[in-house]
Amino acid sequence: MKKIQQDLTLLPEMFKKVAFGIMVLSGLLVLLSILKVIAIDKEIIASIAQSVFLISLLMLVITRDKIEDELTMRIRLKAFAASFIYGVTIVIVEPLIHFLFGDSFLTGKGAIELLISMFLFYFIIKYIMKKSR
């Protein structure tokens, strides 16, 4: 049957290995910087490592699972929605927490940190939903 309603287009399963490889690379970059093997400013290295880590997380999110069917796609979309709501909630609530408890309570999150936490939230929700399906 020709599908009119297209599902999300995902990367093949092998890209999971590529994503984990990129993740290790970002860790390695930080490690080399700490050991002073790389003589580049630490802030630049941290920024590059964060971006590389973000790319690996994105790759993990858009890569197919071993068994991909309509239920896993539904779980995927629900987890996407949950992480989006989480992100918006954090952006709204964080200034309020700053206002109520002062800056010492919570340090301000940058865009990369927020995106990383959204990705982690996505993985947690997806894992829980897959376990309870």
Partner: protein, 66 residues
């Protein structure tokens, strides 16, 4: 929506895993459908009915709250 997949499987001595393989989904998806936790798409419902050689209405039935 209730269904009779478990009964149909039992009469044909078919495991969840075997049924899942025939229609190209995971065993967990079959389990979720059987326990009424997930309502399958029309395409999947038709595939299930084809395996059991029954009409969709014989396998899936609407409940009052649907």
């Amino acid at each position: 929506m209730k269904n009779t997949i478990k009964v149909q499987r039992a009469t044909r001595d078919l495991t969840q895993e075997a049924l899942a393989k025939q229609i190209g989904v995971s065993r967990q998806t079959i389990n979720s459908i059987e326990k009424n936790r997930y309502v399958p798409s029309t395409v999947l419902a038709l595939k299930i009915s084809k395996v059991f050689d029954k009409s969709v209405n014989e396998i899936f039935e609407l409940e009052e709250e649907d």
